[in-house]
């Protein structure tokens, strides 16, 4: 997968590039707006990760011009948290998604996967791990033939952990994604929900789907047959 990363902050670009390369992506980094626009016109990328604040031409202007030229390349914007109108404008201009700074590389990677899949018409609707299937559209969770009833919060938590099996999810990261901001980070809300989820997914407790990473957080066990279309 070929990614054009447009980001003028060297250090941000560096860790993002590293994380993407680890995912097996080919990353081209550009730090200036005009250059980025020329490259995006000239080359074919699977996705462009575009910062809005750029020297030269700004991100929104690049996006607008690309869409005016009927260039369908998927674009993910890197925005400021408060720039709500910026985000809305970006989506209106044809951005496929956005990630707000400060963001986790994991989050960006998940968005890139989602966007590229959508672009190729390869809609992800079902996550699978062993005999556990999670339908993202009907929000149905099954273990073999038995249906499992999850609350909205539990579903969100499960979906989040399942999108990168084997990856360690620290509690704070889970808290931010599933609960949003401003939930007391010292609280044990994540642990309580993980316990519930474990009980519902695996009442007998023989094969755990969710592993505890001591003092840090949790991860979903890497199992075969992860994805089925």
């Amino acid at each position: 997968m070929r990614v054009l990363l447009v980001e003028d902050q060297e250090k941000i670009a560096s860790f993002v590039r590293k994380a993407l390369v680890e995912q097996g992506f080919t990353v081209e980094l550009v730090e200036e707006g005009e250059e980025a626009f020329l490259r995006a016109q000239r080359e074919r990328y699977d996705v462009i990760v575009l910062d809005i604040m750029l020297p030269g031409r700004d991100g929104l202007s690049i996006l607008r011009n690309l869409r005016e030229q009927q260039n369908p390349v998927p674009v993910i914007l890197l925005t400021a948290r408060t720039g709500l109108s910026e985000r809305l404008e970006g989506l209106n201009l044809g951005a496929d998604d956005y990630v707000t700074k400060p963001f986790y590389a994991e989050e960006l990677i998940a968005r890139i996967h989602a966007v590229t899949r959508r672009a190729s018409g390869d809609q992800l609707s079902i996550l699978q791990a062993g005999d556990l299937t999670v339908n993202l559209i009907t929000r149905e969770v099954r273990r073999g033939d038995t249906s499992i009833d999850l609350t909205a919060r539990e579903f969100c938590l499960l979906e989040y952990l399942m999108r990168s099996p084997g990856r360690v999810y620290p509690r704070t990261q889970i808290l931010e994604h599933v609960w949003g901001y401003d939930f007391d980070p010292s609280s044990n809300v994540v642990d309580v929900y993980i316990q519930r989820l474990r009980k519902k997914l695996d009442p007998t407790g023989e094969g755990q789907f969710i592993e505890t990473v001591r003092a840090v957080g949790y991860r979903f066990r890497r199992l075969p047959e992860r994805m089925v279309t």
Binding site: K101, Y181, F183, S187
Partner: protein, 500 residues
């Protein structure tokens, strides 16, 4: 209304001008009285003078007195009192109507040392008298015309006095020549009545004048205070988010123009410093975002690369938690500065507040198994809100309700409709908020319990921000009465229009 400046101005001007008017009226009255009395005195002297300068035989005095009395008589009565004494004090004549309570010897007499007036012209040569003797032996009844050989006497200047008797007040004039002392008194009854009329007129005019003055000062003060009122109106409109209000100085009077200029200048400075403070937070937040992104991304990477469950990974995790805390502070500061500047961006869409509250209750049960979570939620309460920000308000209240609770306590979440608003209250047991601090809970960086605050996370921006968010949605967040160790926060929000 308290002490109104206008009322004070009116009272003051009425008091001052009332005093001036009273003094003026009093002196006018005294002046008129003096003039009138002088007129009476002059008349008395004019009538008595010709009598006093001539020597009269004692038996003539009753005629002379009769004539004088007649000259003072009018249709309504009148007349005068006459008393004549010779130098030895013997009474030659006394009017029959002389008041009994008025001693005949109690009149001031001219100073014996005062010069006697002798300036009378010598009598013209009398025409040939028809009769030789003034004291004809034949006709004692007929008033005999003064004889041709009148004897002129020197007269002392007249002395006047007012005497009050049972029958009325009298004005007396005493004239003295070398033979007799002549005292004539006229009644002051008419004079008194006239003076009473003047007095009544003044007394009637005074209140009318005062009323006019009060009316005038009312109008004047109204005009004068119009600028002040205008100033007050603008000052009322000025809030943190509308510091651009200014008072137009055109058309104002010089004195007020200065006040307006000073006021506008103050607003200028206020606006500038306010926007500076607000921009500072915003700038600081923006500046912090890049290093935070780098920090978070780098730590995330290091954490993923570290062996699972290792000590390094734990250190990275702790760092990540700190970064998360920093992110929260920066985010809240930025939102607060935006709210201060009136630029809090909302992305409103219909939100089911009941579901949101339900979710929060669910979280509360998970987070605090030791607490009883009570809920009383009216179903399907829809509001028009920014879901992210509103969720934050709810979570903030819920988090506080747990943080400041006591062991084995309870939290109660209620949601109800009240007219066109949704009212969500979160009540919890605990130490409660000290009365002295009640007004301060919404202050930034305020912490209810200093001794405990170290154990409790957060920086005291949550409530302040929650209230700003509620207000930006057209609602409010209030601390209700917290009696008996129960703290109650209430959020009011306008219902979505469709739900009404």
């Amino acid at each position: 209304m308290g002490h109104s400046f206008r009322v004070r101005i009116i009272l003051l001007s009425v008091a001052v001008s009332g005093l001036v008017l009273a003094v003026f009226a009093l002196s006018a009255w005294a002046f008129v009285q003096r003039i009138a009395l002088q007129r009476i005195d002059r008349e008395l002297a004019e009538r008595m003078g010709p009598i006093a300068i001539v020597s009269h035989p004692p038996e003539h005095w009753s005629w002379i007195a009769g004539g004088l009395d007649l000259s003072y008589r009018t249709n309504e009565g009148g007349g005068c009192l006459v008393l004549v004494k010779n130098v030895t004090g013997e009474v030659l004549h006394q009017s029959t109507n002389w008041p009994g309570d008025l001693p005949a010897d109690r009149f001031p007499t001219p100073d014996p040392a005062s010069p006697r007036l002798r300036s009378f012209p010598p009598p013209p040569a009398p025409p040939a008298p028809p009769k030789a003797s003034p004291e004809g032996p034949g006709a004692p009844k007929q008033p005999a015309p003064p004889g041709p050989a009148w004897t002129f006497l020197p007269v002392a200047p007249p002395v006047f006095a007012t005497r009050r008797t049972a029958s009325g007040t009298w004005r007396f004039c005493t004239m003295e020549n070398s033979e007799v002392t002549l005292v004539v008194g006229v009644s002051l009854a008419r004079f008194g009545a006239e003076m009473a009329r003047v007095r009544n007129g003044l007394l009637a005019a005074l209140p009318a004048a005062l009323l006019l003055i009060a009316l005038g000062s009312w109008v004047i003060s109204r005009r004068a205070l119009r600028s002040v009122e205008q100033l007050a109106h603008v000052a009322e409109r000025v809030t943190a988010s509308s510091l651009d209000e200014r008072i137009p100085a055109e058309g104002a009077d010089t004195e007020f123009r200065r006040l307006i200029t000073v006021f506008n200048g103050m607003l200028d400075r206020l606006e500038r410093s306010f926007s500076q403070a607000s921009r500072f937070s915003a700038d600081a937040a923006h500046e912090l975002r890049t290093p935070l992104t780098i920090l978070q991304g780098s730590i995330e990477q290091a954490l993923q690369e570290a062996p699972a469950g290792s000590e390094q990974q734990r250190v990275y995790n702790n760092l990540l938690e700190e970064v998360q805390g920093l992110k929260e502070i920066v985010r809240k500061l930025l939102l607060l500065s935006l709210a201060d500047a009136g630029k809090l961006e909302l992305h409103p869409k219909p939100v089911n507040l009941t579901e949101a509250a339900e979710g929060v209750c669910e979280d509360l049960e998970a987070v605090a198994p030791g607490l009883t979570i009570k809920r009383e939620l009216e179903p399907d309460v829809w509001i028009e809100a920014d879901a992210d920000l509103m969720g934050q308000v709810l979570r903030n209240l819920a988090t506080n309700a747990v943080k400041y609770n006591r062991e084995g306590g309870w939290v109660e979440v209620r949601l109800a409709r009240a007219e066109s608003t949704a009212v969500l209250t979160v009540a919890n047991t605990g130490d409660g908020i000290p009365p002295a601090d009640r007004d301060r809970v919404f202050e930034r960086f305020y912490r209810a319990d200093r001794s405990r605050s170290r154990k409790v996370d957060g920086v005291g921006l949550g409530l302040s921000l929650a209230r700003e968010i509620a207000r930006a949605h057209g609602g409010d967040l209030r601390l209700e009465d917290n009696s008996d160790g129960v703290t109650v926060f209430a959020v009011t929000l306008p219902l979505a229009p469709a739900a009404e």
